[in-house]
């Protein structure tokens, strides 16, 4: 064994990584935890004494309702992403290699444009005199414009639009690894298509489903600008609450406590994902 002093590159990399984690991940999170147990102060934002008031406030029926509504919209977003993403990823794994590269490229292209700008673009489409309403009216499908903007549906459309790639990519990766022999074996042992889907394909792709849910569900609760632009005042996300506490209401302890709630939810999902992965095994010969 050579010591770190004899391996300067290795030492430098380790210092860099640990330094990064310490100053940019651990410290900010500890500050958030710290802020969440302090008292609100109009002058310097936070002050002593330590208190759990912020967490108590989370249980306020008003905020509980915001949380539940936010969770509901995020869950709907996740469900829609899953319903679109699952067959899409499956098809993606089936097309030829060249088309695959093209399709994944197309999936990634929107990331080159700021998501705020894309959300404003969506507003133009969904507006009362927007592309969608005008298009449908000129086709004679509808007589007058529909109220699309500033509805719960608009928020979910916006979230799905922004988050769908995060559902597709992990699903695509599990479908890529899904060996055709498993499906043949199932067929050979007497299973029809539906049976094979339920008993073989779904369990084998479950890690991808869970990864997709993780990547969509929690970010969906945090993307505050989507309700800001598309949702009107009643369709708030937890992200809006957090943003408002820090920027408008100046209640840092409460904003921090809400953040921690989201972080804990994320940790719980990751834990569930790990469990399922262990069950399914790394290789599965």
């Amino acid at each position: 064994m050579r010591s770190l002093t004899q391996q300067p590159f290795r030492a430098a990399v380790l210092v860099l990584v640990w330094g990064w984690l310490l100053f940019l991940v651990l410290t900010p999170n500890l500050l958030v935890v710290g802020a969440s147990v302090m008292t609100r102060d109009p002058g310097s934002f936070i002050s002593l004494p330590l208190t759990l008031d912020a967490y108590r406030q989370l249980l306020d029926p008003l905020y509980l309702e915001v949380f539940l509504h936010s969770l509901y919209m995020a869950a709907m977003t996740t469900l829609v992403c899953l319903l679109i993403g699952y067959p899409f990823a499956w098809a993606l794994s089936k097309v030829g290699k060249r088309n695959q590269v093209l399709l994944i490229f197309l999936l990634i292209v929107p990331f080159w444009t700021n998501s705020l700008v894309r959300t404003y673009a969506l507003k133009l489409i969904l507006a009362t005199n927007g592309l969608l309403n005008n298009g449908l009216m000129s086709l004679g499908v509808i007589d007058g414009p529909m109220q699309l903007l500033y509805t719960e549906g608009a928020v979910i459309i916006g979230l799905v639009y922004l988050l769908l790639p995060f559902m597709i990519l992990p699903l695509y990766s599990v479908f890529e690894d899904l060996r055709e022999d498993y499906l043949r074996a199932s067929h050979d042992l007497g299973a029809g298509r539906l049976s094979t889907f339920i008993h073989v394909i779904v369990p084998l792709t479950l890690p991808g489903v869970l990864a997709g849910i993780m990547l969509v569900l929690l970010p969906a609760m945090g993307l505050f600008f989507v309700p800001d632009i598309l949702g009107g005042s009643r369709n708030l996300l937890v992200g809006n609450v957090i943003k408002n506490q820090f920027l408008d209401a100046r209640n840092w302890p409460f904003g921090a406590a809400a953040s921690i709630l989201l972080t804990l939810a994320m940790a719980f999902l990751m834990f569930a994902h790990r469990l399922s992965k262990r069950r399914i095994g790394e290789d599965g010969v």
Binding site: R184, G190, V200, P203, L204, I280, G284
Partner: protein, 364 residues
């Protein structure tokens, strides 16, 4: 279909573009037979197996299983099960659930299912492993679970797609013998495809040697070894020495072949239409060659060679000799009867012409 064939195919053809991967193959497998299809990679054996399993459809020809035409029957409705090359045990299910998978699809009640799973595990020598995950088992155990998963369904026909390929050498030798015993014990008809001639020879009742989509010869292993029907079979099955030359005379089914250095060697005629002047190949097995000091002279054929080296390998020890640039291998008995050999020393190899086979030269 009056005969008691479990599997019978006639004129099977499967084309990919202009290339026929399976080219007019007919075969007939009696019930309870261990039937192997042996061939180099790309010979069409995997395509043929896929046709039998129902994963692919033939362009021409028919497949009958116990007299029932199978061409339009999907894989899940055929009385056929398959052990895949990589086994394809479902990693999300326990051993018991893997084996019970097919029974469940057949709606066998749970109590009956448990009984049959326990029984088949006992039969393959893995009692009480129901609750383990396939990933926890050794390679040989997984192999047997894959077999049990098929055999529990009591198929008419079990297809095996080179399942021993992934095992290490020692385990493979062991599994060969075990597979043969299991086949006899269950009495199920096995169709086994492999590129490993030793696997095919050790386990099979009948072996079909396949090349370029066609069967070159279908015979029991011993016949395949002693009376290969084509030069390809002679070269592919077992070790063989090949000597190329021109036919000088044919008498009493024995052909004399002149090699390029003028030496004349003799062997039994193995293909029709061998006439003086024709290009020919003589095949002689390493164990059929004897060293002239000990061989009885009368009617034998012989060749003068120079010793290159001896290859000691216990019972498989051989001497590598050379005649006119052509390497020849002869078995070196380890019972003290072999002469002392020195590199570059002279060695006369002789053989009984009845043990050598002469074919018209193959196009390649």
């Amino acid at each position: 279909m009056a005969t008691e064939s479990d599997l019978s195919c006639s004129g099977l053809v499967r084309r990919f573009g202009n290339n026929a991967a399976v080219d007019h193959v007919s075969l007939d497998v009696p019930a309870g037979t261990f039937f192997s299809i042996l061939g180099p990679s790309g010979c069409g054996k995997t395509t043929l197996l896929r046709l039998l399993a129902g994963f692919d459809k033939p362009d021409e020809g028919d497949i009958f299983i116990r007299g029932h035409r199978m061409n339009e029957v999907p894989p899940n409705k055929r009385p056929v099960n398959m052990v895949f090359q990589h086994l394809a045990l479902f990693p999300t299910m326990s051993v018991g659930d893997n084996i019970g998978y097919g029974l469940k699809r057949k709606k066998v009640p749970a109590a009956e299912r448990r009984k049959r799973i326990a029984r088949v595990l006992e039969q393959v020598g893995l009692p009480e492993l129901e609750n383990r995950d396939p990933q926890e088992l050794s390679g040989g155990q997984r192999q047997r679970v894959a077999l049990a998963r098929c055999l529990v369904l009591e198929p008419t026909l079990l297809l095996l797609d080179e399942p021993l390929g992934a095992l290490d050498l020692k385990l493979r030798e062991q599994m060969k013998i075990e597979l043969k015993h299991l086949q006899k014990q269950f009495g199920t008809t096995f169709v086994y495809i492999t590129h490993d001639q030793s696997e095919a020879m050790v386990m099979s009742d009948q072996v079909a040697v396949m090349k370029n989509g066609r069967f070159e010869q279908v015979a029991p292993p011993e016949e395949l070894y002693r009376q290969p029907a084509t030069p390809f079979v002679a070269g592919f099955v077992g070790d063989n020495n090949r000597l190329a030359g021109t036919v000088v005379s044919v008498a009493d089914d024995v052909a004399a072949v002149r090699l390029s250095d003028g030496a004349v060697v003799r062997g039994r005629v193995a293909s029709a239409g061998l006439a003086p002047g024709a290009q020919a190949e003589l095949y002689i097995r390493p164990e059929s060659l004897s060293f002239s000091q000990t061989a009885a002279g009368g009617g034998s054929s012989s060749l003068q060679t120079r010793v290159r080296t001896t290859l000691f390998d216990g019972a498989n020890s051989r001497v590598e000799a050379e005649s006119n640039g052509q390497a020849l291998f002869a078995r070196l008995p380890q019972d003290g009867t072999a002469p002392a050999l020195t590199p570059d020393g002279h060695l006369e190899l002789s053989w009984d012409p009845d043990l050598a086979r002469v074919f018209g030269a193959s196009p390649q």
